[in-house]
């Protein structure tokens, strides 16, 4: 074998042996380091997984949503606004939507009631059991699994909610959405638009918002701008904006969590620096002897580098693996509160972590590189111990 390579392997051997001689100390450093990396990589993988899920699921989200703003708040939008929009060339369809929230005082859950003007027959495939509301019978609903758990109907098909002025409205369950779709449907109670209007007391001339379908997806931005010009009191939300929102929201939440972790990281780095810069007389003597025996300063440094590299690379592998397992098999249990917030109605969802090169690189930059820096730089001073120090 090439002597240069063989020499480096010898130095690696020497470094690993000296790590192993102080195994209790070095294993504990490895474990703490792996823990720090685990926390950071969990955040990165969880963010990646959520962003991916959002991009994937919302690929076919409404192209444009138009909401009316009054005094800085969202208010009901007149259905007649839809007719105004028809003037714009390129809009295929405008659909009024009525939806809102119902807070259940008994369970504390917040349910989303969604009115649909006409049910796409393909929606049947998304049902676990039962059928879609037929539109003519009042009070028929399809429930998401989160709502089913929250209401705890125990086989009953009928239940009642109070309207705002405390009269009761009775609903009949005709079907349930599949558990696989909980990420979208957990808190949904889907009914005909007439039922929603009846429950929320919204008149036929108003809707919650308008969904706009455009003929050519490339023209979304242009048409959104035209809508904003035509209806100045509205807010126009486009599909790319929705997807961007998800990136930003998860990005800032994981950033928020990561910043909290930075203090832990800093503590660890200070510990590593302290450990590396304090040189015992034995270490000093060892380096002096090695140099007398013909080791160069660079050889001593290489040993230190291999030691730090071995610790940090093992910690990186262990930490990232644990992070992946945490997301893939425990659904990011530790960080759910930070990423999702608390909820009474929570979807049971399974996340597939996404390992992106950039994320791993980020983790390396924040953990491995500082560790290498704070352990190898003080070693420079140690390695320049003059060889005659061992002779005195």
């Amino acid at each position: 074998m090439n002597t240069g390579l063989e020499k480096q392997r010898n130095l690696l051997d020497y470094g690993l042996m000296s790590l192993w001689r102080r195994k209790t100390k070095n294993l504990s450093v490895l474990l703490v380091f792996a823990l720090v990396i685990f926390l950071m990589s969990s955040f990165q993988f969880l963010t990646g997984a959520l962003t991916d899920v959002a991009q994937q699921a919302l690929r076919l989200a409404p192209e444009i949503t138009v909401q009316r703003m009054v005094a800085g708040r969202q208010e009901q939008i007149p259905v007649s606004y839809g007719d105004t929009l028809q003037e714009i060339f390129g809009i295929r369809r405008v659909e009024p939507r009525v939806w809102g929230y119902h807070f259940s005082t008994t369970t504390g859950g917040n349910i989303t009631l969604l009115g649909v003007s006409s049910f796409d027959p393909r929606l049947e495939t998304a049902l676990l059991q039962g059928r879609l509301p037929n539109g003519s019978t009042a009070g028929e609903v399809v429930l998401g699994q989160g709502v089913v758990r929250d209401l705890d109907l125990q086989g009953r098909r009928k239940f009642s909610f109070f309207r705002p002025e405390l009269t009761q409205k009775t609903f009949t369950v005709t079907g349930e959405f599949k558990p696989e779709s909980e990420l979208l449907t957990a808190d949904l109670m889907v009914m005909s638009i007439a039922d929603t209007r009846d429950f929320f007391h919204i008149s036929d001339t108003y809707a919650t918002d308008l969904l706009v379908t455009v003929a050519n997806p490339a023209e979304i931005e242009t048409i959104a701008r035209k809508i904003a010009e035509l209806l100045p009191d509205t807010r126009v939300v486009t599909r790319p904006q929705i997807q961007k929102t998800y990136n930003v929201v998860f990005g800032w939440r994981s950033g928020f969590g990561s910043v909290c972790l930075l203090t832990g990281l800093a503590a660890f780095i200070i510990l590593a620096w302290d450990k590396a810069s304090g040189m015992t007389p034995e270490e000093k003597r060892e380096i002096g002897i090695l140099k007398l025996l013909g080791w160069q300063t660079s050889d001593v440094l290489a040993v230190r580098f291999y030691e730090s590299f071995a610790v940090s690379f093992l910690a990186l592998l262990l930490g990232c693996t644990l992070g992946y397992v945490h997301i893939a098999f425990f659904d990011g249990a530790l960080f759910r509160p930070v990423m999702f917030g608390w909820s009474v109605i929570t979807p049971h969802l399974h996340l597939v972590p996404v390992v992106r090169f950039g994320d791993v690189l980020l983790v390396i930059c924040f953990t491995v590189l500082p560790y290498l820096a704070v352990t190898v730089i003080p070693a420079w001073r140690a390695a320049s111990v003059p060889p005659d120090s061992a002779m005195r």
Partner: protein, 91 residues
Amino acid sequence: MRPSSFFLVLLVILALGDGALLFLSSLQVHSTPDQQAEEVLVAGLGLTDLCLATEARYTRHVAITDAIAPFMDHPGALDHFPSGSFYGVAQ
């Protein structure tokens, strides 16, 4: 065995373990999400957001919430996102 060989073997074992892990979870991908159902739901119901947290309009409908979300619907809720994320409802 030389320490460097041992280290190399350890790295290879860990890398293989990670590979197996990635493979296992890629198998799971095929069993869990129902992409077609998702598409049908999103297109058929006109959904704009994921159901991750349901407590307030700005958590349930992140993308189309009010510009100023002043107020959560839960009477015990404390306030806006960061604290709302870390504390539960006051009982």
